[in-house]
Symmetry: C2
């Protein structure tokens, strides 16, 4: 019965692209992932492992696999991908995996492991197509075809019917390798990723990244082939979107040209500053309403700026992590909920830690234990609020269709400023006056 279930599971999994299973893996427990990888055929399993994000630790699946299966999978991996994964293990485990591989693969991976991860050496693959300058055309073509067996496919050609309706994709390698009488319809892969012309460029970038493809066909609603987008076009889009993210999160209009004129810069930034000034008046009005407290305890004036400022810093941290997560992938409700819970916890712990330092200063410098207690409570409270808002505001904005990068920081600063003044002044008015 168990065998039968495995076969069923394999059949179901075969319907998916490796990158889709890799995404599914993010939500599965470790044993389930290991089970699935051990069921899948080695070439498909290696695709799934290759598609897994480093953050989700593909190396932990690998090290727990049956050694024979593991060797098959590692030998199917591109050597640069295998190296990145194996590099995460400790030396004994690396040795264990490498000793099972055939000599050439092991030696390639050993060489790649010797380069620092963030250098050209750590990034390259050694599986390259080379020809000798002394070859003639036919010798060179033979060499290319022979070497290409081992390699990623090189150039994707689109196969259409007489009405220019896209039927599938075929790699140039497979055309060159085919016997003379083979028809294109026999070579064509009919499952492929495609987009319609009105799809947003961020979505195109996400697809090209997710499926690790070099080009994507663009079609109309009847699957008529309109054009093609290649990975190098996507690079410029990504730099542009990333620049926009960094600018928006910092309150600069996404349209500001980095090397533009001062007039353009004023136009792009002044509106945001004026809105901020409005929210700053709101926060300041809280201080005004505690006029008596400030007069009686002028020292609060210095401490509350510290608490408000620290709230802003902690919120910025939570915001950056959350905005970046959102822009790299959509979060499920459950993931969103756990993100907020995590940031709440992080905010409370960081708040209590910094609160303790402020408490000690109030104790030894101002010799005022009650003031210390007030400040400890206010700091913990404000950083807890910073964590919750830093994570939840961008998630809420995203759900209601507002760009989280542009609107989040102003809302969050308003929260941390207001509570940064309100909490210490209110607690002080209760405990100290």
């Amino acid at each position: 019965a168990l065998e039968g279930n495995d076969a069923d599971l394999e059949k179901i999994l075969n319907e998916y692209h490796a990158s889709e299973i890799a995404i599914l893996f993010e939500k599965l427990p470790q044993e389930a992932k290991e089970k699935i990888i051990s069921i899948l055929p080695a070439d498909f399993a290696s695709d799934v492992i290759a598609e897994m994000d480093e953050e989700h630790h593909p190396e932990e699946i690998l090290i727990n696999l049956d050694p024979e299966k593991r060797t098959e999978i590692v030998e199917e991996l591109d050597d640069d991908v295998a190296t990145d994964i194996i590099a995460q293990l400790d030396e004994d485990e690396q040795q264990e995996i490498l000793s099972d591989l055939d000599h050439e693969d092991a030696s390639n991976i050993r060489t790649l492991l010797s380069y620092a991860e963030d250098t050209a050496g750590g990034l390259m693959t050694t599986e390259i197509t080379t020809v000798n300058i002394g070859m003639n055309k036919m010798e060179a073509l033979d060499a290319v075809i022979k070497q290409s067996e081992e390699q990623e496919e090189f150039y994707t050609i689109f196969a259409v019917d007489d009405a220019n309706i896209l039927q599938g994709i075929v790699s140039l390698k497979n055309i060159i390798k085919a016997r003379h009488d083979v028809m294109i319809r026999d070579l064509v892969v009919t499952e492929f990723v495609h987009v319609q012309a009105d799809v947003d460029q961020e979505e195109v970038a996400r697809l090209i990244q997710q499926y690790n493809i070099n080009s994507i066909p663009v079609v109309d609603e009847h699957m008529k082939l309109l054009g093609r987008i290649t990975v190098d076009d996507i690079i410029d889009v990504m730099q542009e979107e990333n620049t926009e993210d960094i600018l928006k999160i910092s309150g600069v209009s996404e349209d500001e040209e980095l090397s533009g004129s001062w007039q353009d810069a004023v136009k792009s930034r002044l509106p945001w500053l004026v809105i901020n000034l409005g929210t700053a008046f709101l926060a300041a009005s809280i201080i005004r309403s505690f006029d008596d407290t400030v007069k009686a305890l002028p020292i609060m004036s210095a401490y509350m700026t510290i608490i408000a400022g620290m709230g802003g810093n902690a919120a910025t941290q939570a915001l950056a992590v959350t905005v970046r997560r959102i822009s790299l992938s959509d979060l499920t409700d459950n993931q969103a909920y756990r993100t907020i819970l995590k940031e709440l916890l992080v905010g409370m712990i960081n708040g209590a830690s910094n609160g303790l330092i402020v408490l000690l200063v109030a104790l030894f410098y101002d010799a005022n234990p009650m003031l210390g207690l007030v400040l400890f409570l206010a700091m913990t409270g404000n950083l807890l609020i910073a964590g919750i808002t830093g994570a939840s505001i961008p998630l809420i904005l995203k759900r209601v269709g507002i760009d989280p990068a542009v609107a989040s920081s102003i809302i969050i600063t308003t929260f941390t400023d207001c509570f940064g003044f309100l909490l210490p002044l209110w607690v002080a008015s209760k405990l100290l006056l």
Copy 2:
């Protein structure tokens, strides 16, 4: 004599890669750029135009060119690139350029112009290689070779000698197209971009982007071929570096995993918060030293938080623009100097604008013109300081070899906090007490 000079100039320019001339263009006046483009042969000129950044307005060169030359250049451009450039012109100018083109090019570009710039349609090229599913192998290969004449090269193969020393690159297209007796050494391009294995991955990404290439060979110090890095490997690097930039600029350790545990998040963020707390005490000590001013004028307590906060916001804007500029390209001394000057000016104007609003509030709400003057001066001064530090601190850090993204914001916040308290309190103590 003029003709002779043109020929000399062309000879000199021919030594450079198109992308290098495009970078040179950033520093040249408009007439010089137009002159150079008109001297260069159309295919090289079109490469230069294609490599120019949108920010440096290639369309302005195009529209001022002699129409015949312009038509030649536009027909050499890939249709998606031509479309992006032409889209920047107004309708009359677009019409002027399109009416000179041959019918097919004009119609392709008209179609592409009809898609929104940030969609799949706006991104795609219509110059694609297609085969009909009814073709056999040889028909398909013929079709590919015929269409490839018009297209970007498809797959780069590395040509080595017997000692595996890299001699040059050759495109698969050129091998397939060659006569049977042609030798690889006759097809090889001996000028090509390459990197050594220890080059930083950011530099690799910059080269692949700058030269718009699909792969780059990795060699040792004797030009022995070690491996290859492809553009799709670079995409992951770029996302990683961009995530790190956003995290670092927000005071989160670059190693924090976006979906990591709360323990990791505390470990990554708490140290930075504690450092910030130290600088916050520094700023707060300024308030303490003006204890008398705060006691006499408790209203200053509210206003100075506004001025310090606005300084922080303005500095964050200047910082984001500068950090992003630095991470996209190295700035010359002259560019760095002008960046600081620009941010100084922007800071002063935005400071005076916001200062005016605060002045009006002090005038009508607090009925205190002298308070208004104090606040106006302090706001202008603090945003001016915010502009200078926001631009100069990352530039200075970069020169001395410290990562500007990670260290800038803490230094800058310290400046804007300290001056945000010092300026209003000091000016108030002079003018109001």
